[in-house]
């Protein structure tokens, strides 16, 4: 599977503790310090007026971070945008590390805790990763290896939805 556009969502441990407006100054502060590794942080966008939208968005050249409200479950959603020369497993591990770095910073700066026992992985590429069993079969080994490498734990992997219009997504739960 030749895909570089992956998304990772890590969920807030206590959804009620997420107040979107609190993240605006936090993200602006990150831009001032440019303190996400290997990311050029560019801008902040407020989508807090939308139901189950991207909430507060931090745009970077390499990928976008948002306090995503999708599915009614707030969390940090990181979308990788730029192409890679890494293998799928290494690429996924890199993306997972970027998402984890962001939640560690949020835990420090926004005082919101995240639950790292569950990871949502999205392939943001309907052409190369359609939402099919075949995509799942192809991605599963790389994804399992990446999760093992980054979290030093095994995860149970399951397709999130079989709706062909939705993006291919895998719900990963720590075993």
């Amino acid at each position: 599977m030749d895909v570089h556009r992956f998304g990772i969502k890590l969920f807030a441990a206590d959804p009620a503790s997420v107040r979107l407006e609190d993240f605006i100054p936090v993200f602006h502060g990150w831009i001032q310090k440019q303190n996400v590794t290997e990311h050029l942080l560019i801008d902040v966008h407020d989508y807090s007026h939308m139901q189950e939208g991207p909430g507060i968005l931090l745009v970077a050249h390499e990928g976008n971070f948002s306090i995503d409200m999708g599915g009614g479950r707030p969390g940090l959603l990181y979308y990788r945008k730029i192409p890679t020369t890494l293998s799928p497993g290494e690429h996924l591990a890199t993306i997972l590390r970027s998402a984890i770095e962001a939640v560690r910073l949020l835990e420090r700066d926004a005082r919101v805790q995240f639950n790292l026992d569950e990871v949502l992985v999205l392939a943001n590429d309907r052409l190369n990763a359609p939402n099919t069993d075949a995509s799942f079969a192809e991605l599963k080994p790389s994804l399992a290896a990446a999760l093992q490498k980054v979290f030093e734990a095994s995860f149970d992997l399951a397709r999130t939805t079989t709706d062909p219009k939705e993006r291919f997504a895998v719900t990963c739960r720590k075993m």
């Binding site: 100054p25 560019i42 407020d46 989508y47 189950e52 309907r126």
Partner: protein, 767 residues
Amino acid sequence: MPTWKETLADKMEPQLAEEIDAFEMQMALRRTGKLDEKVFAETRLRRGCYGQRYDNGHRHDGIKTQELGFLGDMTKGPDTMWDAPGMQRIKIPFGGVTPEQLDTLADLAEEYSDSVLHVTTRQDFQLHYVHIDDTPNLMRRLAAVGITTREACGNSVRNVTACPLSGVCHSEAFDVTPYARASMKFMLGHPDAQGFGRKFKIAFSGCREEACGLTNMHDMGCLAVTRVENGADPAMPKRGFEVYVGGGLGAVPHSAKLFDAFVPEEELLPLTQAIGRVFARLGEKKNRAAARIKFLVAKLGIDEFRRLVHEEMKTMPADPRWTSYIPDVAKYKDTPSKPPAPLNGQQRPDGFEKWFATNVYRQRQQGYAVATVTLPLGDITASQTRQLAEIARRFSADTMRTTVEQNIVLRWVAEADLPELYRELGRIGLNEPGAGTILDVVSCPGTDTCKLGIASSRGLAGEIRTRLADRLFTLDESVRNLHIKISGCFNSCGQHHVADLGFYGTSRTIANRKVPHFQVVLGGKWQDNAGAYGLAIGTVPSKRIPDVIESITSRYVRERNGAETFQDFIKRIGKQACRSMIEPFMDVPGYEKDRSYYSDWGDPREFTIGDMGTGECAGEVISVTQFDLADAERLVFEAQVHLENETFAQADALAYRAMIQAAVSLVKTQFLDVKDDAGVIVDEFRRRFYDTGILGDRYAGNKFAEYLFRRHASPPSEHTRDHAYRVVEEAQLFIEATYACHDSLTERGAAGVFPAPVQTGKAARNL
């Protein structure tokens, strides 16, 4: 690895597919420095690829201006970094969009943007934070569902807008939809619309009294009218349009002038073409601030402008497309998903009555209604978009419409389905009431993404919405139905001039610190197709604007005379009284006393105007010749690729096409209507540029022209590497010669030696 180009090859119209391939090739040329950045900037703008704030690589972070270290120094326009995120505007003619198209738009928002679609004040969609490298595939996926981004920006005919109630409205003369569509198709890429100094906007309205079409504020406004001609059946009146020209908002708003009280339907397209030709020929090119057609109409006077247009019409070669669509006009109709049914007896969910009162319009077709889906700040998520498409399939007709108030309307909803529709919209967070009310605040993107934004129009709009949301139905009815529109700067993309309460962003310096302000504009008229422009009465700090609204509306409720409208109230009390209403809110406390004034809504950074860039609304003024020559270069580049791939026949054919393209670019400087026929082009080129010696006066004599003549007269009988190589090389040299000739002519023209750079019509043919 599959590609969208291959996957969608049989789903795209060949012409759309070819245009996108050409754009991709132009991107490749720009990457290698073979295409000038100004030419590329206008090229991408004409494909809807717009710049976005901070794309010059600088951003003030609240403490200092940071250099954004985009990789490399490649640019996609003057002072515009290649890698900087940009905006993609997607044209939706008359706002008509199908569920299938919504599905695709949702996919694109997720995969290339930030999962949000934004509806604009001209019925377009916009995606933000898009990388230019993604745009060819984005365009292919749109083309596969019949959408083009061509001429969504740049100095071109922009989206053709129309009343979203067309065809179902009680007060319209007739449904303007097929005319709006024909107008869009006819003018899209039309050669006579490529040499404008600025953009050109067309709007259609079905009636005079309502606001929907906003014909008075457009470059060309077409208002549906009918007339019974001598001896004709009164039941079958002749269709036509009351046509207005020269309207526009921007920093200096102009009301459109009546061009003709009745233009018969068959004359609509030739008239549009003629107006375009006069605008292209006589409109300002150098001073962008005075380049819209409104300035030309004001300079010439409407009578002289009309005379010139009518003269132009006489010289234009007839085009069958002028009338070929008319027989199909009567066949145009939406297909509802269900039969009509009255709203009787169904159980009505909580909140339904309020939503029904503000968001539902009963169609003139009994048993059907239009339901407005209110989009806060014009935004809808990808997920909502996809689900809205499903809802539309179930309840509505085959098309929805976006609106200039940044909403979406579902038409042909059986009234009996309205309660269930309300529930379904609620499930995805889209059943908010208040469409068309004071809560339905319109805003341009402002400082969120626009390079020209001064103050945060969206931030202010969001704050006003938050404060009014719970109070909407407790407000006096006279206030509830007022319109608020906000622009981030004086350019009026938020249409503040035609709002009851309009605001545009500005800045003031207080003790060496910048403070965001808004100019208050009162009494504009939304109805009567944007019937009157408001009165600017003074600037107020951004943070006090909600208080200003409260104060003005309270006084209006207290002091209005009976059913006096807000416009009449403002006119009656006068500018001085209006100003006195806002004066209590004009003071700015010291920085140490209250720092909140020194930052903008939704943005904790200390306010600065240092992030403003050079806007791209005006585009780059690139001559038609430059575009044609750039296209010739693209073709010869493609020929070189074929040469490398040893596909010699294609290499030869493309090199020949490149020479023809270069030749026609020069011919058109004297004869705009030259036929699209290689033989004619070669003959005209020979007569005008070879026989006269004009081509060769500066660049190697006439010998390069002979390359064209030879290849034209003697196509190869067999395709060999040597032959293809020679033709490709000769094509390159011929294009260089045409560039040199164009430069020479331009210099002489500037010195007054070349008096008629573009002549058209009969005069040109008599050369």
